[in-house]
């Protein structure tokens, strides 16, 4: 089974993020980058599928030169090949634009299965995978916890709300967006890093960005809106006031 894993490089989890001077994106200087967490689980799922069923795992990542470090890490963890889609203007591409360049690079690989994280840690739009499936014309399933190959197709476990799960059977080729926490991640090893040096990383140029349908207007840190109102009176009066507020201001009861 040939599995492609689309991964994204995002700022480290505890990075001190500052808004860039133009207010359109974050200041990228002085940031450390790492693999997007759900993508790490997608990679893990791919590696486990390969270990069980054989085949090949190819990681694909779009972005500037710096993303090659994340690709190398994926190779060190056990991916067989990497494709780097070179693009310095990721910030000016919307979801469709990003999905388009990923899909373009994947098409010629004719994979059996494409995995990616269900969303990114930075933007959290959760659409890239789904749009990619549409562009490639293959079925998809989202928020996947577990994947099992059944020979001709797949059995997947989707996470629903409130502790419910849905088990779905689907044909191949397909695209799945993977939820974090379904597997245990592996640690990178010295042997993996040394082997990664000999593995192939293909660099392709991203097609020029078209005018995005969605543009980021302003990026800002959450503004503090600490409005505390002290309710006074007898317990009965306070309770009545709370009920009124919950009913008419917050509208939850």
């Amino acid at each position: 089974m040939k599995i492609l894993v689309a991964i994204k490089q995002v700022p480290e989890r505890d990075a001190q993020v500052h808004v860039a001077s133009d207010g359109k994106w974050i200041d990228e200087s002085d940031l450390n980058y790492t693999i997007n967490e759900p993508d790490a689980y997608a990679l893990e799922e791919a590696l486990q599928l390969k270990e069980k069923n054989g085949g090949e795992v190819v990681v694909v990542c779009a972005g500037p030169e710096r993303v090659t470090s994340t690709l190398r890490e994926a190779l060190a963890k056990g991916a067989d090949r990497a494709i780097h889609i070179e693009a310095d203007d990721m910030g000016s591409r919307d979801t469709l634009g990003v999905a388009q360049i990923l899909a373009d690079a994947m098409k010629s690989e004719s994979p059996d299965l494409i995995l990616t994280g269900l969303q990114s840690d930075d933007l959290g739009l959760g659409q890239t995978g789904v749009v990619m499936a549409e562009l490639l014309g293959i079925p998809h399933a989202t928020i996947i916890m577990h994947v099992e190959a059944t020979g001709s197709g797949l059995k997947v476990k989707r996470e629903l709300e409130d502790g419910w799960f849905q088990h779905v059977e689907m044909p191949l080729p397909a695209l799945l967006t993977i939820q974090s926490g379904g597997n245990k991640l592996r640690y990178a090893t010295l042997m993996g890093i040394k082997k990664a040096k000999t593995k192939e990383t293909k660099t392709v140029q991203a097609a020029a960005a078209t005018a995005p349908a969605i543009a980021l207007d302003r990026v800002y840190l959450p503004e503090k809106q600490k409005k505390t109102e002290m309710l006074t009176g007898t317990p009965d009066q306070v309770a009545a006031k709370i009920v009124e507020k919950l009913k008419f201001e917050v509208r939850v009861i």
Binding site: R13, D14, R186, A188, T189, L190, M191, G192
Partner: protein, 668 residues
């Protein structure tokens, strides 16, 4: 001929010799007067057979040692220290006696006796070959044979004592199986001595002289081929091992080349390791002091040495077969060298410290872990979590680096900018752990009180100690390089840290990637300034626990004790100094899951509480954290638990806090 009488009971006989009731006693060794050519021929044949058998058995061992991989870091430097070790540990039997006085002395008698016998035995065999060079009649001969006789007595007494110990006292660390071979060896040694001493009790020229001579000779000839087969091989190679062992304590060698991931298979076993494992005399001193072996775990350091030896014997030193039992097909030494055992080691180094024949267990155990971790064979939920935390967060506790920033702000620690004298290294415990933070804060108060300027690094990552000891060279290298760069960028000259693990790792282990600034432990810093620190008159009894990484690893025993004496009355634990018993946290084990068997920390905590001291004094935040719960578990009225920094700081006058104590972080 005038013989000195050995027994003064009866009157002198006219001939000058003594006639004890029906017994000949003489101060001169009786040697056969004449050997026929037939006898000489038989002896020569005996020697050839004995030597051939010896080399038939010793040859493969020597080949295994010589054909093992060369040690990339092999060096004879420093020769002076090696000569001293050889003199003290081999010739003086210093370690053997010091760590186990009675059996040690018995052993020393046997050893020194053997040395004394070198000349006697050479002459004995030479006589049979009709080229004897030392006549019992000559004045040198008279003296020397009597001198050797005195030693023969001591050897006989010593070996009898050791025999009784092995077969009747049977200390548990000898293992359950009684070594019959040892009995035979002891018997042969005893026979050698008796057949030598006997020659003082027979009249010269008699048949008994010849009989004794042949008994002695045959014993020697039988003894020789037994040496390589049994643990008595240490007789031949352990002096070499002691001289050649890797410099320093528990030093982990660098990996060499792109194909070296640690001890994966036999071909990764180096010459020093081979030499060391073949030197093992199975005395069990390592087992006796091992915290894992003493708390019901699989690991027994002796079996690590014997496991590698069995592997080499069975599969050779160029084999590709995996060393660890879990990854290896069925072998005769099935239960030895398991991954489970390798990952139970706290790297406390007690085994290595105790070993009288120069075996360096910790680098072997860490080598096995490297082989498993660097290749991804080791799968452990907690271990993986730790490595991922170190990869992602740069600290072993897996917390956000922001937590450290907040703590620095709260304590108003200045950031190191090159103007201060010291860089205060927080470490994972000092930066993130609540108790570790208390220790750091108190030590910072001590520094402020002394007027020593210090600053902390703006960003600090783990030294990589747990990754290093758990065999993850990738994470360790990344962290070591990042740390070295941080010190270089900040232009740090001197570092002080509260954690012996950080001190050890920065000072020694980082050397593989560069030279770090000079670092010391806070006990050393405080002891140097102790005259300027207040002495407490409470007289409170404080039992001090030696951390492995400060004592055995760094040889610092007195400095923390001086600080304890400053704060109260020092009480020594039953096991202290270089015999201190581990808290169970080292070697990355603080971050792994629940232990098998009894908790190491409970054993030690019970021992410390058992001294009745009011306070347990520690000098390592890991020991401190291990004892925090353990003391409460093992004692209904647990003693107080304080680091030496806290013991010192509590006597300082309260300072006006002018810092930005409660300003908070302003980001919530």
């Amino acid at each position: 001929m005038v013989d000195v009488t050995l027994a003064a009971v009866t009157c002198a006989h006219p001939s000058g010799t003594m006639l004890f009731p029906a017994m000949w006693v003489s101060a001169t060794l009786a040697e056969p007067a004449h050997f026929s050519w037939l006898e000489t021929g038989l002896l020569a044949a005996g020697i050839v057979i004995s030597l051939a058998l010896f080399f038939w058995r010793f040859g493969p061992i020597l080949r295994n040692i010589l054909h093992s991989k060369q040690d990339a870091d092999f060096s004879l430097h420093p020769v002076g220290r090696r000569v001293w070790d050889f003199f003290w540990e081999v010739l003086c039997q210093g370690k053997v006696i010091r760590q186990r006085p009675l059996p040690g002395l018995a052993h020393a008698f046997v050893f020194w006796g053997f040395l004394a016998f070198a000349l006697v035995s050479s002459n004995h065999i030479a006589n049979g070959l009709q080229i004897g060079f030392l006549s019992p009649e000559s004045s040198l001969g008279k003296f020397y044979f009597l001198f050797a006789a005195a030693w023969a007595l001591l050897v006989a007494v010593g070996i009898t004592g050791l025999f009784i110990r092995r077969f009747f006292v049977r200390p548990i660390w000898f293992g359950k199986k009684v070594s019959i071979e040892s009995g035979w060896i002891a018997f042969l040694i005893f026979l050698l001595m008796v057949s030598y001493l006997g020659a003082f009790f027979v009249s010269p020229g008699g048949a008994a002289v010849k009989a004794l001579w042949w008994t002695h000779t045959l014993t020697l000839l039988v003894f020789l081929p037994l040496i390589p087969h049994t643990k008595h091989l240490h007789l031949v190679i352990s002096p070499v091992t002691v001289f050649l062992k890797r410099d320093g304590f528990s030093n982990i060698p660098p990996l060499s080349g792109d194909e070296d991931f640690g001890l994966v298979a036999g071909k990764d076993v180096t010459q020093l390791i081979s030499l060391q494992v073949y030197s093992c005399v199975e005395c069990g001193r390592c087992t006796e002091h091992c915290p894992a072996a003493n708390s019901g775990k699989v690991l027994n350091p002796k079996e690590i040495a014997l496991g590698v030896r069995s592997y080499l014997n069975e599969l050779g030193s160029v084999s590709d077969v995996a060393l660890l039992a879990e990854a290896r097909p069925e072998t005769a030494f099935a239960n030895l060298l398991s991954m489970e055992a390798a990952f139970e080691c706290t790297t406390c180094g007690a085994c290595e410290y105790q070993c009288p024949v120069g075996i360096q267990h910790v680098p072997v155990i860490v080598g096995l872990r490297r082989g498993a971790t660097n290749t991804g064979v080791w799968e452990d939920t907690y271990g993986t979590k730790l490595f991922l935390a170190l990869e992602k967060n740069g600290n072993a506790l897996g917390l956000s680096a922001m937590e450290r920033d907040k703590f620095i702000q709260k304590e108003a620690f200045p950031i190191f900018d090159g103007t201060q004298e010291y860089c205060l290294w927080l470490g994972c415990m000092g930066g993130y752990d609540p108790k570790g933070r208390e220790i750091i804060a108190d030590f910072a108060r001590v520094m402020k009180y002394l007027g020593t300027t210090f600053g902390v690094l703006k960003k600090e990552k783990c030294t990589g100690d747990p990754a290093r000891r758990l065999g993850n060279d990738l994470v360790f290298q990344t962290l070591a390089e990042a740390g070295l760069k941080a010190f270089e960028t900040a232009k740090v000259q001197k570092i002080v840290a509260i954690c012996p693990h950080c001190v050890r790792t920065i000072a020694n282990d980082w050397r593989e990637y560069g030279i770090a600034p000079e670092i010391e432990h806070h006990s050393e810093f405080m002891a140097r300034h102790k005259d300027r620190l207040p002495k407490q008159a409470s007289g409170e009894s404080i039992v001090y626990h030696d951390p492995c990484y400060l004592g055995r690893y760094r040889d610092v025993y007195e400095a923390p004790r001086e600080m304890v004496r400053q704060a109260g009355t020092l009480v020594e634990a039953p096991r202290s100094h270089e015999r201190s018993f581990c808290c169970g946290a080292g070697g990355g084990l603080a971050f792994l899951g629940e232990e098998q068997g009894e908790r190491v920390s409970h054993i030690r905590a019970a021992e410390l509480a058992g001294t009745g001291a009011q306070v347990v004094g520690t000098a390592c935040p890991f020991c401190n954290t291990m004892f925090r719960d353990a003391l409460a578990e093992v004692s209904t009225a647990p003693p107080q638990l304080l680091d030496i920094a806290q013991l010192t700081a509590r006597a300082l006058p309260k300072m006006q806090e002018t810092g930005i104590m409660d300003q908070g972080t302003g980001e919530q």
